[in-house]
Symmetry: C2
Subunit: 256 residues, 2 copies
């Protein structure tokens, strides 16, 4: 008999993290919240944080009052009854437009992420007139926060920066990994064998996205929980970052 704890994962939301401002260091805020919740960090914990607090701490905010929309942004905004300054910021953050209709603009960001509005977002920003951008280099942000936590708390965590993205064919957003440090984003079962000792032919699991999605269950948007500890999941170490999660164009049957 195997005890249940060997097959148990805990998702623990860190409450009490204050509103993050540009220049704030996240590691001490997160460590204080963990302590406040009575949690002792452990090596092997995974920390999942929202893109939003990372972007805020890095000052990746744009105030719309400072934005002069281009003619194209004005035209797109008029078609959508949207704020032309918001559309302008979306265009500035976009590498290309993948699809658009009257409801949504799906773009590819310079990072290679495909998502609505290039990840530009109005929700959960203290200043009504400001929007947040994705971190400039989410893997670098993840590495920095992981290093800071090691320095601050002496622990080696796996670190994921997550955001909620839509996807083709299925309704609803799910939380996915947009930056990571210290853990491998994919788990390759192709050389392992199934329960009947046959090779598992094609199975590569997007572990980092499942971890982000699990944390998303706790990070509900209105609950002020921007950081979640995943405890009890034996992850593979790795430094390849989120690029490994992006399907190469030549391997993508759904490239646009």
């Amino acid at each position: 008999m195997v005890s249940s704890t060997e097959a148990e994962i805990r998702l623990i939301g860190l409450q009490g993290i204050p509103e993050v401002k540009p220049g704030d260091h996240l590691a001490p805020l997160i460590a204080a919240a963990a302590e406040h919740c009575g949690l002792a960090w452990a090596d092997g914990d995974i920390l999942v944080v929202t893109q939003k607090i990372v972007s805020k701490s890095e000052g990746r905010l744009v105030c719309l009052r400072d934005v002069e929309p281009s003619g194209f942004a004005r035209r797109l905004a008029a078609q959508r009854r949207a704020d032309a300054r918001f559309i302008e910021v979306v265009l500035r953050e976009s590498h290309r437009i993948v699809r658009m209709d009257e409801r949504v603009i799906i773009t590819e960001t310079p990072h290679g992420l495909i998502c609505a509005n290039a990840g530009v977002d109005r929700s959960n920003i203290a200043d009504d007139d400001c929007v947040s951008l994705l971190p400039e280099n989410p893997d670098a942000s993840a590495r920095r926060l992981r290093d800071d936590l090691r320095q601050h708390s002496g622990v080696e965590v796996g670190l994921i920066i997550a955001d909620t993205f839509g996807r083709p064919w299925r309704e609803g957003l799910t939380n996915v990994a947009i930056g990571l440090a210290g853990l491998a984003p994919l788990t390759d079962f192709r050389h392992r064998r199934d329960d009947h000792d046959r090779p598992l032919m094609t199975t590569v699991l997007a572990t980092a996205d499942e971890l982000a999605g699990a944390a998303g269950l706790i990070m509900r948007k209105t609950m002020r929980i921007p950081a979640v500890i995943v405890r009890g999941f034996p992850f593979d170490a790795g430094e390849c970052g989120m690029r490994e999660l992006l399907r190469a164009r030549e391997r993508d049957l759904f490239h646009y």
Copy 2:
């Protein structure tokens, strides 16, 4: 101060479920495994089970030795150095082919699911020559298992049947909900307000897929854990089933 338990979710893998055979009733097998792990069920638990054990219990298996491939299946198989009988089963389970190349055939199933090989799968089947099909009506399977568990153990759980699917643009498979009972697949935040009291304009979260993905972290393919209890997640009741997770063609910018 809020205690950590208010923001904690536990994912508990049920070990010790034996190889499931056609005609087996899952509820007593799952209840026995839970008892074996020392787990008392509670109302409000969510049970996530793999498609594989549901399909096996329903006899949704096809032995390739009994399959006579069509000419088209033979041609596709020859292009791929694949087993023509396997391709034949995939075609029989497909409503249409969405995309294909020399590596993979993406089809839409009669349920409206879009996935590789119509969900036909060779892994984790005791008989080397057999493959499993998706349940004929995964929502009905989920309702049946939920009813059986209520009868058997006296608990009201939310129930999800999950399978690992690929997705466009991103590498790796993630576990998603293909059938459900007793819980709402989507959580609509559009009438709620963010932390700064502004409306959350467009946020509908695919809760059932995040729950399936979280369970997927425990259901790693070679670990014989086909059932996971999610405890501590306050879900919305609902009976709409998985169809709500399928994006309607007219709302899908990426319809094929």
